[in-house]
Point group: C2
Chain length 395, copies 2
Amino acid sequence: MNTENLLSEGIKATPPSFVRGILKAASDPDVISFAGGLPNPVSFPQEELLQSVERVVRTYGSNVFQYSVTAGLPQLRQYIADRYNRLFDLPLTADNVIITTGSQQALDLVGKVLLDKGDGVIVEKPTYLAAIQAFSLQQPVFYPIELTQDGMNPQQLERALQNPVKFIYAIPNFQNPTGLTYSAENRKRIYEIVKDRDVVFIEDDPYGELCFDGEHQPYIGAGKLPNSILLGTFSKTVTPGMRTGFIISENTELLKYLSIAKEAGDLHTNIFSQYVIWDYLKNNDLDLHIAKIKALYQKQAQAMTDAMDRYFPPAVKYTKPHGGMFLWVTLPEGISAMSLFPKALEKKVAFVPGDPFYIGIENANTMRLNYTNADCETIREGIRRLGNLLKELLK
Amino acid sequence: MNTENLLSEGIKATPPSFVRGILKAASDPDVISFAGGLPNPVSFPQEELLQSVERVVRTYGSNVFQYSVTAGLPQLRQYIADRYNRLFDLPLTADNVIITTGSQQALDLVGKVLLDKGDGVIVEKPTYLAAIQAFSLQQPVFYPIELTQDGMNPQQLERALQNPVKFIYAIPNFQNPTGLTYSAENRKRIYEIVKDRDVVFIEDDPYGELCFDGEHQPYIGAGKLPNSILLGTFSKTVTPGMRTGFIISENTELLKYLSIAKEAGDLHTNIFSQYVIWDYLKNNDLDLHIAKIKALYQKQAQAMTDAMDRYFPPAVKYTKPHGGMFLWVTLPEGISAMSLFPKALEKKVAFVPGDPFYIGIENANTMRLNYTNADCETIREGIRRLGNLLKELLK
């Protein structure tokens, strides 16, 4: 039998990852790739994590190898609650935290727990492509809201909320893919629009701590909206390879259902890694470690925008990142970044064309570039190659 | 807003885990618990795994901490293919294997990729309770097939296949919860019934290697049926805490969709642990290690059935395990194991009543007992307590 006939409607509605395809094409060692979203390996505290492995095996023995509880290691949940209370003035206990297998799993779980086929989901336009994937399995109706320099367009948000919407999914800090951050004013307006609605507000915040300068903006929902969910991860600050993220919510009833979905999904997150990360956090200064990562990424971001200033034709626009891992390039209207991609590969430079970050848009004139996983010299050379191509194209 | 109103139909259809509730009640240190499904901690090669951690960090550096590919570590996939080819005469390459976050995630993925609401799923009666959970999220129609001493009832299977069924889910070796193994004859009959149908055959085999005596029976679908899926795990042979399982299929087109679902679910399985387990397997003799686990579990199983022979009233029946981790007790008809449970807890002994292993059956006269996670003396004492209670009840 044709495999196609066996498939669910949900999986058929789920776009395959464009990035995976790209990464293969970009795996030629001569290609300078800004396509992936990889942290710089120097952000992994390898020696300290190795020390933590030894310590937890010696101290907790078989507990670090045995089955464990679905919600996650209580000590790690407590650490997360304490940290968010200290940094962001939230009122959390360990009961407000569930450990997930990367924050990608959190997207899967909220989709499962909140969405039936045809339910509405509000997302940014553009938004994180793997969130589109995770939610698409439930076959929702997406309502994309324009993302401006200030954040979500409030008028569009109000209009979209006329529809039967289950949740709003937003990445307010150093957004993936654009690198944009919502202003304080925009956050207040969104809060005011959402606060009396029966809708869950999901803030995905993997990059908030990678803030190059200034203060972390207050959360829109966390600590304020009763049905808010805040997602976090250790992937950008400790290690992505150990797939350790978390869900924070003050709605413990909702967490109970997320926990049932998690149990059905993988029983619990790798407890060995939970012990190791918890021990690392207890015995090292995470703030100091993050400060080093930020200094590095700021330098690399600067190298990229400096090179763009120099090599890109003036008709090409780009965001200037204040944190996070990405910047967003806008070509003149009518120029497809997707059709630029194979030409760029020929010139040995790669990026992600905008298309997979939108719902149902093709040949967008935008592209995402990552600056965290290459040194400054490589960044300059890659942008020079891309700039030359753009100049030729826009001649 | 009431949280209930926010929930999807899928999560409302998913039974919460009965075992979790029980485990809490049974966490009193005076209670002898046969309720969980925990391997004996001696089955964890702690020192060897610690050596592997050090070796892979020294050898592969940041690769073990970075993001990785969705299908899993190629070397580990190759190891699995080679092992199954050697032991079970299968024709696998690494491309036939996807690494999953425990084999529980494999259940989640097959549900997502194959099931739409209302699709038919054939399961054993009784079956693994967390498979019921994982599939229930997709709201299928379950067709439970009586599990006899020989395996699945073939007549019932043929009848159930008249319905629009997407897949058959079976645990042919040392089944959870019953401990039963399908006979060679039964396997042939099932193969004959299934072979010309447009249906996926899923063999879940976490316990097959824990075979106390005799040969591993041939697989029903793997290597024979084009749309067969074989699930395996390192949870019972190396460590469950690292959540490393795998999907094997010769249908690589189907694997492609399972991989898309996995990417949307958690991007990839913890790569640190994949490296560690692969290095452990490469540098140690797994067969020798498994032989030790089997000898231990056989002794413990014997202690349990010996104690049952001695302390249980003759009207109570139980399976005699030849492998795996569980045995299955059948009380006289009309006696509810569920209502026995609180009385057993009072006597400081715990088990899992049969109910959660069935679709829509309450007050079943059956219960599952685990014998792997207690020493022989504790097993005898626990069975003595349970036996006394049963004698009183059946007086």
